[in-house]
């Protein structure tokens, strides 16, 4: 029983990790005032190129790097269109998702059914061998830790550093930021690129660690959940983590109950994580003043400097 519980919690963390990556990226992006709905597309792009890189080179680190680079590249397409050419962010984001889905399916044709070596969980002498807590604290794969550190760093960056403050200022009032003299567009490009790299990393995690294999459309809406997490967590990193873990937990729970054969329709069980995560986050984030404090006022609005 304990063994089953530990195993469940371990898988729950791996299910949460890609969401933490993608949502952290999207959070930074939205905090700068840019709504990028292309997360799903960027995750798929990252997943397929990451998988391809590992298949070709056998180097897991190269795979992760390739996933990040291609996610970043996809986000720059979005950046050029929305920031430089002032196209509509919602429509462009949707287009990016469709583009990413198609591109990944095309590139991935040769890789369907191939297997690679999974990135292994860490094993620290003594520590990991401790009963129960050993594996729970010190037995995950390295990226689980990276994702949590990344989220903490993002919180620290936004809250306590000058550039974090400037990034929030750009999202709060692009006109004021411009009037004071900050390079609004450049800052937004950086935020969009970070968002893309993190979505790519999240995608690569799915294909390299979580499954590990490539299947068409393997993100199965996780990109959308990442976008929803950010909004319903009212742009707070701690709540993003909470939402991601919740999603991961229910995903694993419903897989286990499905396996146990409880007689509940499988499709209902599959949608449970999506519904539960959003309901919980909406309920805990109802405070309108908090939302006003955290929501970037310029979200989704194109900015053109008057000259």
């Amino acid at each position: 029983m304990t063994e089953l519980l530990i195993a469940s919690i371990m898988t729950m963390m791996t299910a949460a990790t890609p969401l933490v990556f993608a949502a952290t990226g999207e959070l930074v992006c939205e905090k700068s005032g840019v709504l990028n709905l292309g997360v799903e597309g960027m995750m798929l792009t990252g997943a397929v190129f990451g998988f391809a890189a590992v298949t070709l080179t056998g180097e897991p680190l190269l795979g992760l790097a390739a996933g990040m680079m291609m996610g970043l590249f996809a986000s720059l397409i979005f950046g050029v269109l929305t920031l430089s050419l002032l196209s509509n962010q919602v429509a462009t984001g949707l287009a990016l998702t469709i583009f990413g889905t198609g591109l990944s399916a095309l590139v991935g044709l040769d890789y369907v059914g191939k297997t690679i070596e999974q990135i292994r969980a860490i094993h620290l002498p003594v520590l990991t061998d401790l009963p129960v807590v050993g594996r729970l604290l010190f037995g995950h794969d390295p990226l689980v830790y990276v994702s949590i550190v990344l989220l903490g760093l993002t919180h620290w960056f936004l809250k306590h550093t000058r550039w974090g403050m400037i990034l929030r200022a750009v999202g709060d009032s692009d006109q004021s930021a411009h009037a004071i003299g900050y390079p609004v567009i450049a800052i937004r490009y950086a935020a969009v690129a970070f968002g893309g790299a993190m979505a790519g990393l999240g995608g690569a995690y799915l294909s390299l660690v979580y499954t590990p294999l490539w299947a068409e459309n393997m993100t199965a809406g996780r990109g959308w959940i990442a976008v929803a997490l950010v909004v319903f967590a009212s742009w707070r990193p701690s709540r993003v983590l909470l939402g991601a873990v919740l999603f991961g937990g229910i995903t694993i729970l419903q897989l286990n109950t499905q396996a146990a054969g409880l007689g509940v329709p499988a499709s209902f069980m599959s949608m449970l994580p999506y519904i539960a995560t959003i309901v919980v986050l909406v309920l805990i984030s109802r405070d309108s003043i908090r939302i006003r404090l955290n929501a970037p006022a310029c979200l989704g609005r194109p900015f053109r400097a008057e000259r």
């Binding site: 403050m165 009032s173 930021a177 006003r292 404090l293 955290n294 008057e306």
Partner: protein
């Protein structure tokens, strides 16, 4: 003057699609000089100072700083030269704290040290600030104080102030003037934009007058009269508002009884047991410093917040306390809220569409659920003509209007509905002398025709120019209204200021 000028502009021109904002303007500012920039709305003052501050780039012309030609490409380079600016439309970040708002405009530094400097500077210049409050729940006055302190912290050689006193009490204005004179005595120059001519006359060493984008005159304001300055600015004689005939009828138009409202803002002011009435043919003026409950009172009267207890608000003898804004309008009341954009008008809609928003039912523009657009268009046209709103036409977007023109439009939209009761907050905030006089005259005319009006304003000159009776709001309570002839500016100023010293003592006690 044999001193080298600190800043010299030669032949500055700037055109926007459809208008020439600046046409061949020369301007010279000497070190230690307080220089006024006078002009009506749309005269090109804002454009000119934006060019000086590097927000806009001139099409033509030269800028010389301490005798050397410079290109000011962005605000950062303006600041590094030593130019500081307090904007009229505040450039604050709503979801950020006072401290963060100040930090963003300064070179990188330790926030704790900055907090100390901020508090010292604010204290030295008599400006009350709370470093950890978020900008979105600060009043206009407090926001402006952030802007001023933020500039002073940059230790500028040239400080540009765009209508800085419109939200201050006479006492606060005196303090500010003392500060500005100290700064000038230290050798700093000040470019001072104001529509209050008396202020310019008492404070400024020189004045440059702009009209229609051109430089009209340079003069020593102390040697001019307010009348002569206004004529240069407007290009014709200004009639001061005539006043309305004394109230004859005493029919009650608005009766407020023991109104108490809890503020919906975290740092807002609760309204406590406010009672007053407004009669037909009179104007009741409510003076007070920003943030003493004006917003809450206005929103409760217009029906945006609430509802209060039954019977608290009676409009034309009907209990309106449980009604929404539209129903109150149907009773015969109209409202001009303080926030022009977002509350009074929708910036991405045209003037016609905005005209429709509050007049739809009062003016009968809806038939069987369909909108009579030609009728609304005519109505909008009438507003533009009657109130001299400068816009490219009735289809212009609200966002394309300058602040003063938008204010004229909003006041006009309400007054032309011939209401029985006008409730207006800050009727001439950011509006120049000529336009303010026009708005005042229209209000007076409405009152002479038998309406009643409640005017909430932080501008004491305005309160005294308009009101038959005057009350002061402080800390959410209202002093008993008294006939305007029986109170002096000083008495009202003290009533406004008294509350602040109490609140400051209270906040010190908390700390």
């Amino acid at each position: 003057m044999n001193e080298k000028p600190l800043l010299q502009l030669t032949g500055i021109s700037k055109a926007f699609p459809g208008c020439i904002a600046n046409d061949d303007i020369d301007l010279e500012i000497a070190p230690g000089e307080i220089h006024a920039l006078l002009g009506e709305n749309g005269a090109g003052k804002s454009t000119l100072v934006k060019i000086i501050y590097g927000v806009l780039r001139p099409d033509q012309g030269r800028l010389c700083w301490r005798g050397e030609e410079v290109a000011i490409d962005n605000p950062a380079s303006a600041r590094s030269l030593g130019i500081g600016m307090v904007f009229q439309h505040f450039s604050l970040f709503e979801s950020m704290t006072t401290l963060e708002n100040v930090a963003l405009a300064l070179p990188p530094q330790d926030l704790d040290q900055l907090r100390e400097r901020l508090e010292t500077t604010a204290h030295d210049y008599g400006l009350t600030l709370h470093p950890d409050r978020h900008a979105y729940d600060l009043s206009m006055g407090e926001r402006q104080r952030i802007e001023i302190v933020r500039c002073l912290l940059q230790n500028p050689s040239l400080l540009i102030l765009d209508e800085p006193t419109s939200v201050l009490t006479p006492q606060e204005t005196d303090t500010l003037f003392t500060t500005l004179r100290t700064l000038a005595a230290e050798g700093r120059s000040i470019l001072y934009i104001s529509h209050k001519l008396e202020e310019v006359r008492s404070l400024c060493d020189r004045a440059t007058i702009l009209r229609g984008g051109k430089r009209i005159d340079d003069c020593n304001p102390a040697q001019e009269t307010a009348q002569s300055l206004a004529e240069k600015m407007i290009g014709r004689r200004v009639e001061s508002a005539k006043g309305h005939t004394a109230p004859a009828a005493y029919e009650v138009r608005l009766k407020v009884t023991d109104l108490s409202v809890r503020s919906d803002q975290p740092h807002g002011t609760d309204i406590r047991d406010v009672s007053f009435s407004v009669h037909a043919g009179e104007i009741l003026g409510i003076a007070g410093i920003a943030g003493n409950g004006q917003t809450e009172l206005m929103n409760a009267l217009s029906g945006e917040t609430g509802p209060p207890q039954a019977g608290a608000i009676e409009i034309l003898a009907s209990d309106a306390s449980q009604m929404g804004p539209m129903a109150r309008r149907q009773l015969g009341a109209v409202f001009v809220p303080e926030e022009r954009v977002g509350q009074a008008a929708v910036s991405d809609l045209s003037l016609v569409q905005n005209s429709f928003l509050t007049s739809a039912f009062r003016m009968g523009f809806v038939n069987h659920g369909l909108i009579n657009w030609p009728g609304v268009g005519q109505y909008a046209k009438e507003i533009l003509d009657e109130f001299d709103v400068k816009a490219t036409g009735v289809d212009a977007l609200v966002s394309s209007l300058s602040g003063g023109n938008l204010q004229k439009f909003i006041v006009g939209r309400e007054i032309l509905q011939s209401p029985q009761l006008l409730i207006v907050s800050q009727p001439t905030w950011g509006v120049d002398a000529g336009a303010a006089a026009a708005i005042h005259e229209q209000i007076q005319r409405l009152i002479s025709a038998g309406a009643g009006a409640l005017v909430i304003s932080q501008d004491l000159d305005e309160i005294f120019a308009l009101s038959d009776r005057i009350a002061v709001i402080s800390q959410g309570t209202l002093s008993p209204p008294r006939p305007a002839g029986e109170v002096t500016t000083e008495q009202v100023g003290l009533l406004m200021g008294a509350s602040r010293s109490i609140s400051e003592t209270a906040s010190h006690a908390h700390a």
